[in-house]
Symmetry: D2
């Protein structure tokens, strides 16, 4: 089994310059470390806690920026979509699509994403048992798209809290598709800050180590140059300057677990 | 405070005849009992567990049927919508809109529904604390729509289970809007039947009594002439023939709780 | 089915005078209202959050006070026990025994309580599914004691929170024994106040109504003349002066649910 | 920080011969691998699901066997106690005491164990938030016993399920005491087999890796020569013949995490 892939980038596309700069830095880092890298950033934050929350640059502008990142930096790019019609449009600009956790049960969205033929990272809903990801798998099979990734991002655990059930990686692996751990959304504190969502950045690296120790194929992490001043997900994003040290230890654990 | 309103009907619109027949029967029953009645049925089941699950008659046909129910039977009608563009279209045919629980965090959908000016029943997500319904309230206020209803439909409780936290009615009431209890979806067993969702019909009436004893403004219940052969939600829908007896006792509890 | 029984009294035995006074007041109230009444108070709070928490008057003194309440006021009395040897001793002074929720899985304690032949109220553990109360039932049957009551006191729901699953009354009723709802411990916030346990008194009455609307045989409630200055469980105990009004409405709901 | 210690042995003391044989095998293995080893076995299973469940050899016989293991095999031994009076007695025979998870809130038991001056492994209750282990810590400090270990054994997650919240190791570490992961009880399925408790042995090793990747001081695991025919905890105990391979990889992860 191969070393884990890193899917990372700022929560929201803030500007072309910033996207290019961050993508380039992480790409160089991953090349040094021997990790496959996919740039992730969202053109729209469609499920924010409040209408006052930042939404991003919009779809048209965002997709152009993603394309530019892909061409100029030379990395594959992924973005999330929120309505079925966006799948085909986004597919013209990106290499992979992502289905947000809240929307993993929306059949039309899953079908539209699957139909593009692109690889799709589906986040398991906060309300879904790992074995019930089976229905997502079935929908992809029906559509003839075998490029599915299943992502754990934490499960509802009482109010205003998620827990990462490490057994879910083992359960979802049974379906035969690559498994992703979303290390930064898993430490969110939903509703924990009034009109936006809080988080616990200090848990990100330990949970990432735990997931790799169980065995995953990719790590998803939102990374920002200055998380505390980011327009969204600040409390749970990693600092770009901390990333390399984190990846170094992550690789060590991953290598141990994956060697025969 | 007024007696509770009943929002009820078959899970999915199966045919015009059936919709008219069920709506008429429940309407007559509610008139006898002195209960306000709103007919509910869905033109599309957009979050089914499987692509093989029944989806309903489709939007165009479904909305026409709902309009016919409203005109011929003389009852207000409500239906759920799943994408923002559907709000304006559905608003031409129905009296109320409903936001599915999985989608209660989708800002564009909330905004589109609120903009119609119609009353909107928003189901609190299975992943949401009652106090975090505040963000839904805020979005409606921003849109200038004060016709919001907040609906409890059970909260994620471990895997493949929901629990109805009766405190949520008290918490959500603090926002100043009518509170609805969805008595039939609350007893679903998510993922419990492989490719469709199971349920426990025998819990519906007891939980309904409990919610009324705490104090709610409306009861939502899916009702079918033959639930065991219904295309969806069979295991948790009420039998039409049982409804009157249930409502009779529900009224007694409601009257006690609401008298000063 | 009969009207519910009330099991009530101050969390801890504070003094003989206070126990007699409270027992007398509640007894008179229950006679006026036509409710069976059982006086409850603990001689020892053995599972306090802290060694600094008040523990009560001690077993020897406490049991004498309970006996005096029983003789002078003329009400049956119940107390909880925490170690097997206490069962036989307490049985000389009281009419009923109670097993704390944390201890419902301790076989020796269950067996010792069952062996006394007294009625025993076993609180279902915060960690136990309603159907798993079956093991408690089995142990009583084995001991030949058929005077078992099963009590719901809330289930662990994430951290620092309990939820009352109203379905549990239905599930536990299947065993054929009377079902009790502990309305005041169910609203505790475990660990919520540092070195003692917090609570939400305003939820007690609504949850009591809900439980009665589902159908229970007895209501357990800690009641105090001045809860805010009580040595334990202050935040969730009812005020004695509020009790009559609460019972009046509770009776109305109970009567509706229990009439054929 | 030092390599993790292993606390391991059969769930229940079945016989002197078997205890000596297993202790010796694990001791030799741990010496080869450079791991500190503590032999664990219970003389009494006091919280079994049923009175029909095996209870063990009894306290008197069990403590003698433990002493023999300690003297003949030359390993420290630990056993759990269930009532306060057992602490002093057990302390004459063993090197460490253990408090079962259900009993972690019983003040008298904690105090009695702390008073022995021995190191005590306290399992955090299935109903307790990690930060609420503070009350256990406080009680030990009050008693002047600083030899406390805090053990995670899974938290109630809905019905008939535990989840291991990997954040709990980080939270509990804040108290400044060694942290233990109970890898075999964490995968129990409480109540899952009618009159005894089920389990998922295949999760033990992955969860152990995850806990070590986060960082713990000791691993607790029940190990048996023939788990499927063991008198208790069969479905979640490790097979002795699998232990060395498991420990080898565990050491690799532990070493990576603990090197500076």
């Amino acid at each position: 089994r191969d070393r884990f892939t890193l899917i990372a980038g700022p929560c929201a596309i803030e500007s072309e310059e910033m996207s290019l700069r961050v993508a380039k830095k992480i790409k160089e880092m991953c090349e040094r470390l021997g990790i496959n890298y996919i740039f992730k950033s969202s053109y729209d934050k469609a499920n924010r806690s409040s209408v006052f929350s930042a939404r991003g640059v919009g779809m048209e502008k965002g997709l152009k920026i993603l394309k530019k990142v892909r061409e100029e930096v030379g990395v594959p790019v992924i973005t999330d979509i929120h309505e079925p019609w966006q799948a085909e449009e986004a597919a013209k600009f990106v290499d992979m699509l992502q289905i947000p956790a809240f929307l993993c049960r929306q059949t039309d969205l899953i079908v539209a994403a699957a139909k593009t033929g692109l690889p799709v990272n589906v986040k398991k809903g906060q309300f879904l048992a790992p074995w019930d990801a089976k229905n997502i798998v079935t929908k992809f099979k029906e559509m003839g798209n075998d490029n599915l990734l299943l992502c754990e991002r934490g499960t509802t655990f009482g109010y205003n809290n998620f827990v990462v059930d490490m057994r879910s990686f083992l359960e979802m692996r049974e379906f035969g598709y690559p498994i992703v751990f979303d290390a930064t959304h898993s430490v969110q504190i939903p509703g924990g800050q009034g009109t936006s969502t809080g988080g616990n950045r200090e848990y990100v690296f330990p949970l990432m180590r735990a997931a790799l120790a169980v065995g995953v194929d990719a790590i998803f992490a939102e990374v920002h140059e200055d998380p505390d001043n980011a327009p969204c997900d600040g409390p749970n994003m990693l600092k770009l300057e901390d990333l390399e040290e984190i990846l170094l230890k992550a690789i060590e654990i991953d290598d141990i677990v994956k060697k025969s």
